[in-house]
Structures are given as structure tokens and as C-alpha cells.
């Protein structure tokens, strides 16, 4: 690219790009006009396009109208903030130039082709930054070495991988939120299930629906925690802690006991009298207000909810148990969410295949053993005097490769995690679909 510029600067009269229109000889007198294209300019105030000529000078852009020949736009290249290819009204291709102070200029119906014009303008704008100052533009462009080329390749692949990592991370976040929503949905479906059971039993039946209906089927997923109930004795008491208990209002607080059973939760008052027993399936939600305070709630149709607030100093030890047992129904409120952070670390096992592959790659560059095939032999002979890779370039390449390796490994870990999450999501969706179907059938029977 720099070569082209040098040529252009040296002999601006020649049309190097014959497909790009002609140089306007009238402009030559004062400023050196590098290029000009017939196009139209959008007048913002009058809301119309005026035909004219867009000319590029070494340091500025100018637009002159065809008819009056007046200069409508003249902006120095250095004040350009952004050049973009856009479409006006989604149909007509145009170039927009954003000037400092956020004035936007629209140039439409560019004659030779929009891309050519865009590339040239952008090139000159960038060259303003990249070319040495002053008129001494005649620098022989140093040929890019092999090393530089390699570094460029590596750098661009690194950038790609970085972008991929960003997207992957975003996707992971989305999957997590999907999972969370699904869990919420699952617990809502549980509630619906219970309410439906209640509705199915005739209204005059005074007892719990359990006696009437077939027992609620135990979900296969829960069987794992059920299986571990043997060590906890006959009743399956998991934990028993002293606690302060209040029902609904906060004024009637009294000491008592919270017992966690495999089959549910029991709340006793100080004299070991059973106040309420929450069956595992009936319980609607547990809210964790703080590490020391939870509230337990069960909804009923046509009756007020049964809700208890339990405060206990031993609560932090119990909450993990509750989390295991009621993982979908438990809800950590803000202050309590510190508890979550402990369990956040994910599996970090990585497969080691990359480790084996990487040193070989690195060896390639450090030994300076580039693939010197038979065809390239002659070329190599010519460049014998200067080393293919300088020390600095080798270092840089090694560095980039190390980074690439790390990135690849981390990407793999993340991918594995996402794979697992996707499996979980599939299972949860299947389960939810089944449950919804079942509920629909039951509801139809009810109506």
C-alpha cells in the first residue's frame, strides 16, 4: 500500500486507477487534487441531494456543486472522526464522513464505485497518521520481513481468538441465565402440581389430598438424595437446631426448634410440641434473608399461607443442607448471597492434549526452522545474508504463541462447561415439557 501512495504523490496527473474517474485539471492550479469523483451531497436543511464533485486534496476533502461551482464542504482530513459505508433509506449506497463536533456528511451516488472511493479516502486519512511529516514522502518502503509477516498473522489470529473468547463468555452467561429461569419454572410447576392435586379432590373432602389421591410420584432426580437417607436413623433426621420461630407477624417470636428431615421440615415449640410439618413436596419456597434467618412458606387454595420465620445462630450450618434438599425452592436474598460465592468455583480439570501439542509448536519458532521446502530453496539463498527471524521477533512470536495456547486452553474449559450446562438444560426442558403436558391433561379432566 505505501508504494502506491508514493507513486501517487510523485505523479498526481496520471490516472493510476483508470476505473476511478479522471483528475479534474481545473483543480490542479492551486492545491494538488489527488482525486475527484462525481457524486451528490445531502443538504440537511433543505433535505435534498445536490449533484457535484467530491475532491480529495492531500490534506482535506472538498465538495463543489456542479451548477454554481461553490464549495459546500471543505474539511481537513485531520478532523475526520469516522468514515463509514452506509445506505440512505436502506437502498442507496453512500459514504458518510463524521467530522469532529459530530457533523455528518452524506455523499451518495458515487460514480465509479463506492468501495473504491471509500478505500482511497480512508487510506489517505490513515496515511496522515502513518506517513512521516513534511513533504519528504519519498521513503523507500522497507520490505516486510518474514518475521513481521508471521507476527502479523499470529497477532491477527490472536485477536480473532480473543473475540471468540468474548462471544463464548457471553454465551456462557446466557446459558446460565437460561438454566436459572428453568429452575424457577420447575419449582413453579411443582406448585402447580400440588394445587392441581388439591383441586382434583372434591371440595367437601376435609382431609389432606394425600389420602384421596395416589401419592405424588417421586421424581427420579430426587432419588439420589433419598438414597442417602439411611445413615440418618429411622425418621431420617438430618439436623436439629434450636431456633427462634415466628409465624407471620414478627411480634410473636418464641423459642423453638427446627428439624430437618429427609422427608421435610418440622417446627417444634420449646416444649417439643409439633407446630407444623412441611412435607418435602408441599413446601413452596424457602427464602434466606440473611445467613441467620430464613422464612418457609406453603401456599393453600382458599386459606391463608402457612409461613414461618426462623432465626437461628446455627443457621449457616443448616442452609447448605437446605440447599441440597430444596435446591430449586430456596431463594437467597441479597444479603445472603455471600453464601453462594463459596460454591462458585467450577471444575477446572483440563485435558492435556494441548500441553503436548504446544511445545512442538514453540520449538518450531525458536529453532528458526521454517519449512524450507525445495521450491523455496532459491529464495532462501537470496536472503541468506539477513536472518529470517530476528531475536526480537522470535521473542514476540513466542509470547504470542504462549498467549494463544493459554487462550485455547481456557476456551476449551469454558466449552466443556457450556456443554455440561447444555446437557442440564436439555434434561430440564424435557422434564418441564412432560410436566406441563401432564398438567394440561389433568386440567382438561377438571373442566
Amino acid at each position: 500500500m505505501p508504494l502506491v501512495v508514493v507513486l501517487l504523490r510523485a505523479c498526481p496527473e496520471q490516472t493510476l486507477w483508470p476505473w476511478c474517474g479522471t483528475v479534474d485539471p481545473g483543480q490542479m492550479s492551486g492545491d494538488v487534487c489527488i482525486y475527484s469523483w462525481p457524486c451528490s451531497y445531502y443538504l440537511d436543511l433543505e433535505k435534498r441531494w445536490v449533484p457535484g464533485k467530491l475532491s480529495l486534496l492531500p490534506c482535506s476533502l472538498k465538495f463543489t456543486t456542479d451548477r454554481a461551482g461553490e464549495v459546500l464542504v471543505g474539511l481537513p482530513l485531520s478532523s475526520i472522526v469516522e468514515i463509514r459505508k452506509e445506505a440512505s433509506h436502506f437502498i442507496f449506497s453512500a459514504i458518510t464522513v463524521l467530522e469532529k463536533g459530530h457533523l455528518k456528511h452524506w455523499f451518495g451516488s458515487l460514480r465509479p464505485s463506492r468501495n473504491a472511493v471509500f478505500n482511497i479516502i480512508e487510506h489517505f486519512w490513515r496515511e496522515l497518521l502513518l506517513s512521516p511529516p513534511g513533504a519528504a514522502a519519498e521513503v523507500t518502503p522497507s520490505p516486510t520481513t518474514r518475521g513481521q509477516e508471521l507476527t502479523g498473522l499470529m497477532a491477527s489470529s490472536q485477536r480473532r481468538l480473543e473475540d471468540t473468547a468474548k462471544v463464548l463468555h457471553h454465551q456462557g452467561e446466557q446459558l446460565d441465565s437460561v438454566m436459572k429461569d428453568l429452575e424457577k419454572m420447575d419449582s413453579d410447576l411443582d406448585v402447580a402440581d400440588r394445587l392441581l392435586t388439591e383441586l382434583e379432590s372434591p371440595s367437601w373432602w376435609p382431609f389432606s389430598s394425600k389420602l384421596w389421591k395416589t401419592p405424588v410420584e417421586v421424581k427420579p432426580r430426587e432419588s439420589t438424595s433419598m438414597a442417602g437417607s439411611e445413615p440418618f436413623g429411622k425418621e431420617g433426621v438430618v439436623a436439629k437446631i434450636p431456633a427462634i420461630i415466628s409465624q407471620r407477624t414478627e411480634f410473636h417470636v418464641k423459642p423453638g426448634r427446627l428439624t430437618i428431615l429427609v422427608s421435610g421440615l418440622e417446627i417444634h415449640d420449646s416444649s417439643s410440641l409439633l407446630l407444623h410439618r412441611f412435607e418435602r413436596e408441599d413446601l413452596d419456597d424457602i427464602k434466606v434473608h440473611s445467613p441467620y434467618e430464613i422464612s418457609i412458606r406453603q401456599r393453600f387454595i382458599g386459606r391463608p399461607d402457612v409461613a414461618y420465620r426462623v432465626i437461628s445462630a446455627k443457621m449457616p450450618e443448616v442452609i447448605p443442607l437446605l440447599e441440597v434438599q430444596f435446591n430449586k425452592k430456596i431463594e437467597l436474598l441479597q444479603e445472603a448471597s455471600v453464601l453462594r460465592s463459596t460454591g462458585a468455583s467450577s471444575s477446572t480439570e483440563r485435558s492435556w492434549s494441548f500441553w503436548h501439542a504446544a511445545p512442538r509448536l514453540r520449538g518450531c519458532t525458536t529453532q528458526r526452522e521454517l519449512p524450507a521446502g525445495g521450491q523455496e530453496g532459491g529464495q532462501l539463498q537470496l536472503q541468506r545474508d539477513q536472518p529470517l527471524l530476528s531475536e526480537r521477533e522470535t521473542q514476540e512470536l513466542t509470547q504470542i504463541l504462549t498467549k494463544l495456547k493459554g487462550l485455547a486452553l481456557d476456551t476449551e474449559t469454558e466449552l466443556e462447561r457450556q456443554d455440561e450446562a447444555l446437557g442440564g438444560i436439555t434434561a430440564a426442558v424435557d422434564r418441564a415439557t412432560l410436566t406441563v403436558d401432564k398438567h394440561n391433561r389433568r386440567m382438561k379432566r377438571l373442566t
Binding site: 497518521l129 511529516p133 497477532a155 457471553h170 452467561e173 446466557q174 441465565s177
Partner: protein, 298 residues
């Protein structure tokens, strides 16, 4: 062309829908059944809107969707109303950007009311993009991006929030509000540097923050660079950091050739994007400012 026919049909549907709505008003007082009429009208408006869309009459389509949305609101179905408003916004986007923004704002109000902040944030981004490309009101675009970032943060989707914030920072820097841009870049950089996947791009953010510092004041840039290196040791090895050091040196000596050389070398390996070009040009100008002044611009 079939389009004219479609448009005529759509106009007829609109008229009929309007009639239904009027009829429902007179009926509503005495009888039930008003709601079903409104429902019918709603459906007609939507159908008319789709036909206008086929005929590419965007503003008419937008208007029809808008009517449908209002009727949905009357029927208390918020979700449908919001969806219709979004459809209206999308249709208007092609003809009347300002009206599109109004519709999307109405949809956002409904969504935030329902607590669907992620969707609201998404539409804030759409609005910001309209401001960005169609109306060129960058200040407003920034405001919407910020709002969207806030919502995303509230919903714990940090990567989306970061994406919005980065947009804000890029525009703030273009508007020469460097302080704001620096704050955002530093914040995003600090957030991402501990994440195993994102830490590789953290250097970009620190690089940009340092560049913003550089434009304001050279000394600040030096201090900032030291700070970043301390915070994030991997930054030292990056090409961005090396470039910064070279640029700082060149600036100190007021040597614009060295400056250009450094930039050129960087560009030959990975192409500078437009934002970086703009910022680097601004710094370069401050070097030339001493020597040649504006004579350079002719």
C-alpha cells in the same frame, strides 16, 4: 405489481377495524361483547400492518401496529401491547426514525413495568443505534447505551453491560469527554482481568484508557501506565504497552518522526481501527502543534 392491491386491501382493513372500535364504544355501555370486538379490531390492525409491510409502506405499517398496541393495552394484555409497539418501531425505523424511537420507548415502559429488564435493555440498544446512525445525536445514543448497561448490570448479565459501556466510552472519547471514557475503560479492564476467558482482552481496555490519558496530559499517561502494569502484569508484555512507551518517549522529545515510525510498525502487524486512528492523530497533532502549527493543513 401486486403491491398496490395489497395496500388497498390493507386500507380497507384499517377502516373496518376503526369501525369495530367505534362500535365497541357504543356497545360497551350497555352490553358485554365489547371486548371481543376490540379483539377483532386488534387482529385486523395487525393484519393490515403486515400487508402494508408487504407493500413497503413503512409508516402506514408502523401506524397500524401502533393502533393494535393501544388496543392491546385497553384489553390489559401488556405483553401483546409491548410486542406490537416493538413491531411498530421496527416498521417506522425505515421511514421515520423519531417515531420509531417513540414506539420503542413505549415498549420499554411496558417491559420495565413488567420487570423484563433484559428485553428493555435490548430495545434501549436499538434506540441508541437509531440515534447513532440515523439521527446522529451521539449524546442521546450515549444516554441510551448507559441506561441499557444499567439494566443489564441489574440482571447480572455483565458481558452485555460491558459491551454497552464500551460503546459509551468510545463515543465519549470521540466527543472529547476523556475523563468519562477513562473511567469506563479502567472499570471494564479491572472487571475482565480476573476472568479466565476475558483477561486476554483486558490489555485493549487499558491501552485505550492510557491513550485517553495521553491526549489529556502526558504525565498522567505515564502514571496511568505504571498503575496498569502493576494491576495487570500481563499488560507489560503486550505490544500495546510497548507502543505506548515508545509513543510517550517520542512525545517527550517532540519527535514526530519517531512517533510515526512507532505507529507505523504497530499498524503493519495489526491494522489500527478508526477509533485508534482518530485518537493517535489527536496526539500527533499536539506534537506538531509546537513546531509547524496549522500551516501543515494548508
Amino acid at each position: 405489481m401486486d403491491n398496490a392491491g395489497k395496500e388497498r386491501e390493507a386500507v380497507q382493513l384499517m377502516a373496518e377495524a376503526e369501525k369495530r372500535v367505534k362500535a365497541s364504544h357504543s356497545f360497551l355501555r350497555g352490553l358485554f361483547g365489547g371486548n371481543t370486538r376490540i379483539e377483532e379490531a386488534c387482529e385486523m390492525y395487525t393484519r393490515a400492518a403486515n400487508m402494508f409491510k408487504m407493500a413497503k409502506n413503512w409508516s402506514a405499517a408502523g401506524n397500524a401496529f401502533c393502533q393494535a398496541a393501544k388496543l392491546h393495552m385497553q384489553l390489559q394484555s401488556k405483553h401483546d401491547s409491548a410486542t406490537s409497539f416493538v413491531d411498530a418501531g421496527n416498521a417506522y425505523k425505515k421511514a421515520d426514525p423519531q417515531e420509531a424511537i417513540n414506539c420503542l420507548n413505549a415498549a420499554i415502559d411496558i417491559y420495565t413495568d413488567m420487570g423484563r429488564f433484559t428485553i428493555a435493555a435490548k430495545h434501549h440498544i436499538t434506540i441508541a443505534e437509531i440515534y447513532e446512525t440515523e439521527l446522529v445525536d451521539i449524546e442521546k445514543a450515549i444516554a441510551h447505551y448507559e441506561q441499557s448497561a444499567d439494566y443489564y448490570k441489574g440482571e447480572e448479565s455483565n458481558s452485555s453491560a460491558n459491551k454497552c459501556l464500551l460503546k459509551v466510552a468510545a463515543y465519549a472519547a470521540q466527543l472529547e469527554q476523556y475523563q468519562k471514557a477513562i473511567e469506563i475503560y479502567e472499570q471494564v479492564g479491572a472487571n475482565t482481568m480476573d476472568n479466565p476467558l476475558l483477561k486476554y482482552s483486558a490489555k485493549d481496555y487499558f491501552f485505550k484508557a492510557a491513550l485517553c490519558h495521553f491526549i489529556v496530559d502526558e504525565l498522567n499517561a505515564k502514571l496511568a501506565l505504571e498503575k496498569y502494569e502493576e494491576m495487570f502484569p500481563a499488560f507489560t508484555d503486550s505490544r500495546e504497552c510497548k507502543l505506548l512507551k515508545k509513543l510517550l518517549e517520542a512525545h517527550e522529545e517532540q519527535n514526530s518522526e519517531a512517533y510515526t515510525e512507532a505507529v507505523k510498525e504497530f499498524d503493519s502487524i495489526s491494522r489500527l481501527d478508526q477509533w485508534l486512528t482518530t485518537m493517535l492523530l489527536r496526539i500527533k497533532k499536539s506534537i506538531q502543534g509546537d513546531g509547524e502549527g496549522d500551516g501543515d493543513l494548508k
